[in-house]
Amino acid sequence: MKTDELITLLARDATPVNKGALPARLVAVVLVGALAAFIILVPWLGIRPDLAEAVGGMTYWMKTIYTLGLGVSGFALVERLSRPDAKGLFGWILVGIFAVTIIALAVVQLASTSPDQMRAAFMGATWDKCPWRILALSLPGLVLILWAMRHLAPTRLALAGAAAGLLAGGVAATVYGIHCAETAAPFVALWYSVGVILSAGLGALLGPRVLRW
């Protein structure tokens, strides 16, 4: 086939493209991923019995805003890094803001924690399970987001994969908060972050393998 013929053929396929089509597709995929995480969470770990009470308090929202914030940062990065020649500076700034905020909250809390309570503030009762559960809950979302990105045009594949993992991990951690009754900011700053970092790391490993086009 000559290149001119190919161009004629491609022009036949020149359907109008909606400006917001790319973000809309990503939002849809993320919502399905969040729903999948929730559907896995309920029979597996269950919802914390005091949820109704917890949503009236500060600590639940501290946790939720942090993890949701990571998800939003991840979304900003995925939306940019799915395009050629885009850097995603805004997303990185968001990650920084949320990370600094949770660390600051943790430091403030630790300042008024007695030495014998330090260990509990960091380790809670579930430190050894929390990151792995977040990673597990992030898997359906991660697969879906990578699949969606594959149809777009990421050019920095490890970075794009990490962004997908950050997004999936942030969403998964938010869903996990419906089960997890840990309240200490140091615990959240450490173990929730580790869970999301695991997910981002997995995404970075998968990116160069699955995102090629």
Partner: protein, 179 residues
């Protein structure tokens, strides 16, 4: 460069609005720049030169929903061309010698004289599922309009469009895995 940017971007925006003639003109111009760019990187006699031009045009077309209208068009198109070139280097186990940083590198000069393809996309078309292949040939080779092809195949025009789009996606995938 900025004149060219404005001209190409206008064509791209018209193409994104559904203007097929503008889209064809854009791809035609890009083909020249891609050929010139790849010729400088791979050598004018590289057997894969025209294949890579075609593969890049397919990618630019199929990925056009990733173009952010607030950004320069030439940078976007150049990044795709560079990605395809690096991908080609990687598949052929050879190394790109110089870093490719600037879109000006690609849009400095064009080369409109088409060279022979090595891997004929027509052969790849033949490997498509029967129904998709017939539709593609109807619109491309026989020259039917989408509406005529739809009538002939007993499909809606929308389904014909989707089928052609899918065929092009399959072609791009197979063009990569052929090497």
């Amino acid at each position: 460069m900025s004149d060219l940017e404005a001209r190409l971007k206008t064509l791209m925006l018209r193409g994104l609005a559904g203007d097929a003639a503008a889209h064809a003109e854009l791809l035609g111009m890009l083909a020249g720049y891609l050929r010139g760019f790849f010729a400088r990187k791979m050598g004018r006699n590289a057997t894969d030169l025209e294949d890579l031009v075609q593969e890049s045009l397919l990618a630019i077309h199929l990925k056009r929903d990733t173009y952010d209208r607030a950004q320069p068009f030439t940078a976007w198109a150049f990044t795709i061309a560079r990605y395809k070139l690096i991908d080609w280097y990687r598949r052929n186990r050879s190394r790109g010698t110089e870093p490719l940083e600037q879109a000006t590198e690609m849009f400095g000069s064009d080369d409109t004289a088409e060279v022979a393809v090595r891997r004929d996309l027509r052969k790849l078309v033949a490997t498509l599922p029967e129904k998709q292949r017939v539709l593609l040939e109807d619109v491309k080779i026989v020259g039917l309009s989408n509406a005529e092809a739809a009538k002939k195949a007993g499909m809606t025009e929308g389904a014909v469009k989707v089928s052609i789009h899918r065929s092009l996606q399959t072609l791009m995938k197979r063009a990569r895995s052929e090497d």
